[in-house]
């Protein structure tokens, strides 16, 4: 599973992408966020406030209860500020 991080979340975590294997116990975005939070303080900081986290699975916006499969590309980023 490919994870992509953008903007503040990328900076908090300290890298822009990583590849992980989806643990069997995780079935949705929410579970993945909980799992990532256990990976260190940088992840805890990145995912501290869920109201300012947006998620895209395979480049489509999804809610936190969206189901995941191991070959998904998951992108985490803050609310957009383009334009």
């Amino acid at each position: 599973m490919e994870l992509l991080y953008f903007a503040r979340i990328r900076e908090d975590i300290g890298q822009s992408s990583e590849t992980i294997s989806l643990p069997d116990t995780i079935s949705d975005v929410s579970g993945l966020i909980d799992h990532l939070r256990e990976q260190g303080e940088n992840y805890q900081a990145a995912f501290k406030n869920e109201t300012i986290i947006r998620v895209a699975v395979n480049q489509t916006y999804v809610d936190f209860d969206h189901p995941l499969v191991d070959n998904d590309e998951i992108a985490f980023f803050p609310p957009m500020t383009g334009g």
Partner: protein, 150 residues
């Protein structure tokens, strides 16, 4: 509609010319250009960096353009969004809309801009005299986007 995500600058006159060519059936052209403004709140902005999600950015812009063409009778359009380091006065985004009807052209251009602000994966980081910070999303923008969902 043409969608481009690029680090280079753009030329509004060239984009209009490319869209219109020798066409004589166009009644109205509305353009929107967004620029880096040198003030944000009380802080002087020295520099801005635009980060984006390559691939998804283009996809989202194409989606909104498609929605606009379904919603209004348009004759063509272009959306260009830049990324990378920018300075105050630099151009960030361009929307050009052609239509036989001025109201459709105005509405489509404003709709695309409103939607783009909250749905296209771009993030602004500003460098001011007080340091650098990520620009926070405005509630007002989210409300404006929702206003279009009649």
């Amino acid at each position: 509609m043409k969608v481009q995500v690029q680090d280079q600058d753009f030329d509004i006159a060239a984009e209009i010319k490319e869209l219109c060519g020798e066409r004589t059936d166009i009644g109205a052209i509305v353009t929107f250009t967004g620029l880096v403004c040198d003030f944000h709140g009380n802080d002087k902005v020295q520099k801005m960096t635009l980060e984006h999600f390559p691939g998804m950015a283009e996809k989202q812009l194409e989606k909104i353009c498609h929605t606009a063409t379904e919603r209004w009778p348009l004759q063509g359009g272009t959306v260009i969004h830049r990324y990378g380091p920018l300075l105050p006065g630099d151009q960030i985004v361009l929307v050009v809309i052609l239509s036989a009807h001025r109201e459709a052209a105005f509405n489509a251009a404003e709709f695309i801009m409103d939607w783009l602000k909250t749905n296209a994966p771009f993030w602004k980081k500003e460098q001011t005299s007080k340091g650098t910070h990520w620009v926070e999303a405005k509630d007002a923008d989210l409300i404006k986007t929702k206003g279009w969902k009649e």
